[in-house]
Amino acid sequence: MSSYRFTAVVARVLLSAVALSASVQASADDDAALVARGKQMYMLCQSCHAVDEQSGGRIGPHLAGIYQRPVASLEGYNYSQALRGQDFAWDAAKLDTWLQRPYDLVPNTSMSFAGVASEDMRKALIAYLKTL
């Protein structure tokens, strides 16, 4: 383990210039990986929320265009009074608080969700939600 770490540190120093020059491409790869991971995690949401407007029939509102969508703004969805009384748009910060524990953002919301404790996991999920 320690020799592996030592090799890795040496390699990191030697490769840093190469890595930096490749950072634009790598960052795109990273984003793709993050989105892919978020898509896996969407398993937590799928039972209540469709990802498009067509495949309805779930008990929660669909999430197409959720990023930057004003809160409780879908026509025809029966939001809780608690959510209707809010005034914000779903940006990354709001989504992050919401996904950690919805009641902390909007007490008495009618979304039943135990929350995602891991910050990394929430980031991945938000990265995916941005693509919807």
Binding site: A26, D30, A33, Q46, S47, I59, S112, K123
Partner: protein, 490 residues
């Protein structure tokens, strides 16, 4: 192609490019997960992991898959021995039924009005409030005898959000139902009735309040006003305006159709008759050893067993602290029910109501309205908690004979009118050892939060590990959580 050199480069480059791991790209080798327990939670975690390309194996001790979902297909009227009720906010369950083309139908188990037999005297529900048998005081008197325990718990329930029960702020409610009721000045007569309709000593009031809160969530979801209870056990089961589902739904053809469909989707990855005796994680993989000598190796294990049976499995490294306390000491309670057909409406002869509650050996008889297409009403004799443990002491034939004789003794009009078909007591089921978990006083604060944390390569699912949900939906909630935990760490 990956070789050691490029792996090292990758490891070196990652911290510069971003700190997030990307398991999706690295998952060249297929991870393996053994799921112990083939009930709803185990099957759901298997299905979700399998959907994500994980190699899963489900080991079920019994020859029957489905755990506490158990439709008695061989019995006339096809009763549900186990879970049956699907609330309109059971999103995972509703979605899963849709995936397998299973139809949800309104539950036809509407309970007919309920009289009571207390102190060897009959009283109709519409005469209860003013009856001399009703020795409760003030507005307590409005509560029907069979509902006293449940209604008092609702009255004193301070929880609003579904996860409040885990908030230390409410630790003061993690006491016996008796202590809660006494603290609130409930009359001795109400205490006695509460004791006849539910456990007073061994159940945490806080844990029961979680269920009340989830029930209220289901009833009020979509800005629906909570109605006054209009049945002996809750509300009339009707569809709400504009809704496709009723308040309470069943799966057409029986709830067992769901685990069957899940097994079909999982194919040969589900093994019945594999009782696990040991989970050994002292090596580089987990090894699962069955009673029949077979062994399985896996990267991770999910226990989807109730703690009442997981406590019979040796686990290495040993469980510690609150988690050990949970597995070895969590309370379990029983429910026993007998099922049958009402051949003739006996209530027309004695002027009492069809259903009844008693403070004797027979706990309750529920007369159930006939379903569409049926020409006779059905009944269930229902025993919970202590009443169930009492009747479970008898072999089946003896228990059925005792029930029939006791019911006829108390209510002669039923003689020859009740045809018993079968009975089922979950306390006598070797693979569950109880009908459900029940946190004892102090156990919610003692271990409810931490008991679900992974132990080495072992993760925990099962209804008893729920956070927000109830019933079958809680089983699915836990299966989903454990599947996600594994995806997150791989």
């Amino acid at each position: 192609m990956l070789n050691r050199r490029s792996l090292i480069k990758g490891a070196a480059a990652l911290p510069l490019l971003g700190t997030l791991r990307a398991p999706v790209l690295r998952a060249a080798e297929k991870r393996s997960v053994v799921i112990v327990g083939g009930g709803l939670s185990g099957l759901y975690s298997a299905l979700l992991l399998s959907d994500m390309g994980v190699d899963v194996t489900v080991l079920e001790g019994s020859q029957r898959i489905g755990g506490r979902v158990y439709t008695a297909d061989g019995v006339e009227t096809r009763p549900e021995f186990g879970a049956s009720q699907i609330g309109r906010t059971y999103a995972r369950l509703i979605n899963l039924c849709s995936r397998f083309d299973l139809k949800l139908i309104p539950e036809h188990r509407n309970l007919m009005p309920m009289s009571s037999y207390l102190d060897q005297t009959w009283v109709r529900s519409d005469q209860w409030v003013d009856s001399p048998l009703n020795r409760m005081v003030g507005d307590e008197r409005e509560m029907q005898p069979a509902l006293v325990n449940s209604m008092l718990l609702s009255r004193f329930n301070p929880l609003k959000n579904l996860d409040d029960w885990l908030n230390p702020e409410f630790a003061d409610y993690d006491v016996s139902v008796l202590e809660l009721l006494q603290r609130n000045g409930v009359s001795p007569a109400a205490l006695q009735l509460a004791g006849a309709t539910g456990d007073l000593h061994k159940s945490s009031a806080l844990a029961l309040m979680q269920e009340k809160t989830r029930g209220k969530f289901d009833a009020t979801f979509g800005n629906v006003e909570l109605e006054k209870i209009d049945r002996p056990y809750g509300f009339a089961n009707r569809k709400l305006e504009g809704e496709t589902l009723a308040r309470i739904n069943n799966i057409e053809g029986g709830c067992s159709r769901l685990p069957e469909a899940m097994v079909e989707a999982l194919g040969d990855r589900v093994h019945a008759g594999k009782m696990v005796g040991e989970i050994d994680m002292s090596g580089s993989k987990a090894e699962i050893r069955c009673h029949d000598g077979s062994r399985y190796q896996a990267d991770y294990v999910i226990s989807a067993l109730p703690f009442s049976t997981l406590r019979n499995v040796s686990i290495y490294p040993l469980l510690q602290g609150p988690q050990a306390d949970a597995v070895y000491n969590m309370g379990y309670v029983n429910t026993t029910r007998a099922f049958g057909i009402i051949e003739d409406p006996y209530w027309e002869a004695d002027g009492l109501e069809p259903s009844f509650f008693t403070d004797e050996t027979i706990h309750m008889l529920w007369a159930l309205e006939k379903r569409p297409g049926e020409d006779k009403h059905r009944f269930m004799v229902v025993f919970t908690d202590l009443a169930a443990s009492r009747i479970d002491q008898y072999p089946k034939e003896q228990a059925l004979a005792l029930m029939e004789a006791e019911i006829a003794r108390m209510r002669p009009s039923t003689k020859g009118k009740l045809r018993f078909l079968d009975m089922y007591g979950w306390g006598n089921n070797l693979y569950t050892q109880g009908c459900r978990h029940m946190f004892e006083p102090g156990q919610v604060t003692g271990f409810a939060r931490d008991m679900i944390l992974p132990h080495h390569r072992l993760h925990f699912a099962g209804e008893h590990t729920r956070r927000n949900d109830f019933g079958m939906e809680a089983a699915l909630e836990s299966g989903e959580r454990s599947a996600l935990e594994i995806l997150g760490r791989a």
